[in-house]
Symmetry: C2
Subunit: 314 residues, 2 copies
């Protein structure tokens, strides 16, 4: 079985045909033009997909077209209700695509698409129940239960970054305070890194990144590895909050595995070793509770395309 | 279709035949004798059920026997791994029952059984996806997705009370700090009531309950209704934490309804009106997000029996 998977982002729209073994065919892409009416963008995307299907000799062989989009969606109706980064409001994506393409079209949240891709063909492929957290500018999430994406009413669930772990805590982008996103995103890690630098003028972090405005997510890992106390404190605190968030999802879902993606998840053992240790030490139910491993994602930037296509795979 | 539903508690074990319309037949019960070996208790229960089936003329008409038990269970194997209140350790409940009874036997967590009962035949019966929280000595929870109980790996998920909403917060019975249970249980409400009484010697709460050791969950509601400021503060704080916990479950599951049971849920409008207001004001996604109502449970003490039997209904 073959489906088209499309990943919509604020810079570009990318896609490819994907088969039910997770193999990705030749890719296509188009720039995302900010300010252009959403209807026009989707019409162009539909034309691009139509041409791609012809050029790949896939006419009649496509089970459907899956689309991962940021924002608040109504997956049942194929509408993007609101996507701040894209400037889209109540855009009837599926309906517009359908004017050009006669294949079934399904829409899902971009974090959900990536999670489904990892669950089916990446780090979660041997497991039934998978929780994925994407640690980027924000914290996205996806829930896969028995191999199927759980999206909630209208597809508006699975907002695993917008779960308060600290009542009255740090302001979150969603309006609430103390969400996991406000502690476990790359943005939060960088915020805390800068705070620690201002508080510790002799920290090694200043040597690694003399221009504080350019500080990224790696500075704290590098300085901590070299024994910098201020950086170690930031990292330990980050692991604590992320660990508590993951423990929460373990108690709710008791998944087989938790997959982390996004820039921070590239930190390797410096993140995963202390994080798994933190979780093992605090695991609810102790001896009787099945183990949950926290592992890095494996599919990189293809996870969204693969997962969007996988909406059509059993 | 008819099944037997059994609810195991620290004082007694109760059960009844239940049909697939949720109708409860004559009930049976036996005392729970603390300190008696679990094997013996279950053997006695099996005999009681056998006699009950005969006396009700239900031989051959029973689809199965569902059992709700407190503690950490392995639902796949029908084992109670550990139940502190019952003094049970690795008790093979299904296997022991099966020595006397030839019907299929299923075990589930008692909070899950109650949630399934409410979801199928009580406050959640018109809805697909239901989250239930039981606000008692602890906080139990149950997740019903598309009419089916979600239990997680080995049935050890759905621990909705053991989700941290305040990192480094109040000590929880589970070993972690800041769980929802430590803020939203009746135990937590009473703890905060007593604290407020000690801090406000002229509070009306002292008139309502002069003996502080006897303070229950109702004192704060009664005093708050009469305008007592200290009681109102306790109640507002309770609603805030419970509200944040519920908002978390809305963002994760986007359920159709959240059902509250347990002693505190009997407080009526004094609890549900401000709680629903709190949630409406902070609902993630705003206009595009489907509404979630928080409502009281409807089945009372029968929910566990009905839900345990409902493990056998489609």
């Amino acid at each position: 079985m073959i489906a088209i998977g499309i990943d919509i982002g604020g810079m570009s729209i990318k896609g490819a045909a994907v088969d039910s073994n997770g193999r990705v065919y030749d890719k296509f892409s188009m720039p995302f033009v900010k300010g252009e009416p959403g209807e026009r963008t989707i019409q162009q995307l539909a034309e691009l997909v139509k041409d791609y299907i012809v050029s790949q000799h896939l006419e009649g062989k496509i089970a459907g077209i899956g689309i991962g989009s940021p924002g608040t969606l109504d997956v049942e109706k194929g509408i993007v209700n609101y996507a701040n980064n894209l400037g889209w409001n109540d855009l009837h994506v599926a309906e517009i695509m359908q004017q050009t393409l006669s294949y079934p079209i399904r829409l899902t949240n971009d974090a959900n698409a990536a999670a489904l891709g990892e669950a089916k063909f990446g780090a979660g492929k041997s497991y039934e129940t998978v929780i994925m957290l994407t640690l980027g500018t924000g914290v996205g999430g996806g829930i896969i239960i028995n191999g199927k994406l759980y999206e909630g009413n209208q597809g508006k669930g699975g907002e695993l970054g917008h779960v308060v772990v600290q009542v009255d805590g740090e302001q979150c982008s969603c309006g609430r305070k103390g969400c996991l996103e406000a502690y476990a995103s790359a943005t939060a890690l960088i915020r805390e890194t800068k705070k620690a630098m201002y508080g510790n003028k002799r920290s090694l972090m200043w040597q690694i990144s003399p221009e504080i405005e350019l500080v990224g997510g790696k500075v704290v890992f590098e300085a901590a590895a070299k024994g910098d106390k201020a950086a170690q404190d930031v990292l330990n605190n980050y692991i604590k909050y992320l660990g508590e968030g993951i423990l929460n999802y373990c108690n709710i879902f008791r998944p087989n595995v938790v997959v982390l993606s996004g820039g921070i998840a590239n930190a390797g053992a410096a993140l995963f070793d202390p994080l798994n240790k933190y979780i093992e030490e605090r695991f609810y139910g102790y001896r009787a509770t099945p183990e949950v491993k926290v592992v890095p994602a494996e599919l990189g930037y293809d996870s969204g395309k693969i997962g969007a296509a996988a909406l059509f795979f059993k």
